[in-house]
Amino acid sequence: MSEGLLQHALYLSLALFAIGAVGVFLRRNVITVLMCIELMLNAANLAFVAFSRAWGTLAGQVFVFFVLTVAAAEAAVGLAIVIALQRHKDTLDVDAFDSMKG
């Protein structure tokens, strides 16, 4: 493996995380916002794998495993909430859900 590869993997992870974070603010659809969160989780996974390779330990891979599990649970509960919201207000626009005055 060439020297700069892991460093560039970290830069890729940073770029993906930034794109996901910007997307959370830009997009108005609740489901797209959830997808941007998945993108950020994946950027974190890439950083874990790169550090795991750099230090030669497997702990990073175990953490990716846990992140994957939490992402699956989050997607299931998040999409169930989205379905409940759609039934309640008949829209998926994030600006429509302001009953808590956030």
């Binding site: 590869l5 603010f25 108005r28 659809n29 941007c36 030669g56």
Partner: protein, 163 residues
């Protein structure tokens, strides 16, 4: 060879990640996200973690994204219409935030100079599983099973139609 493949996959991941955010139709975003996840799976394989690469394809690009597409089609989601009142200001604020974030974290990362370890590195499923069932991770591993169960029950309770 590894390097060429890595940069191709990285370019693919970046381009499709931009498409996820730049698109107005959620189904297009979901398909672009699947492309990003598949490219990342290839990168995980190149970085010497075949187990995580397969897990990424099966769990993320397979199960989670199919769940997303299923809900998108169930709710018959249309193109999102921009809200003109806040649209422009929020857009510039978000882009400024993204640029600031990249500048700050990038400044830290350039000092890091990460290099692959010289010790032999094996990350076969057997090695990862051995570590997973060692005492330091065993309780967290068992806790994830409770988490999955809670998510299962919670998702069913939330999506149920009120009588």
């Amino acid at each position: 060879m590894d390097a060429i493949l890595f940069y191709c996959l990285a370019a693919l991941a970046l381009a499709s990640a931009v498409l996820v955010v730049a698109q107005r139709h959620p189904i297009g975003s979901a398909l672009a996200l699947i492309a990003t996840l598949s490219a990342l799976s290839g990168i995980f394989g190149l970085l010497g973690s075949p187990f995580i690469a397969v897990l990424q394809l099966v769990v993320y690009a397979g199960a989670i994204m199919v769940l997303f597409l299923f809900v998108l089609m169930l709710l018959n989601v249309r193109r999102e219409e921009g809200s003109p009142a806040t649209g422009r200001r929020v857009r510039w604020a978000a882009l400024a935030f993204g640029a600031l974030f990249i500048a700050q974290v990038g400044a830290v990362l350039t000092r890091l100079e990460l290099a692959p370890s010289t010790t032999p590195f094996a990350a076969s499923p057997r090695d990862v599983a051995r570590l997973l069932f060692r005492p330091e991770y065993l309780y967290a591993f068992e806790a994830t099973s409770v988490l999955i169960l809670a998510a299962l029950v919670g998702a069913m309770a939330l999506a149920r139609r009120e009588q």
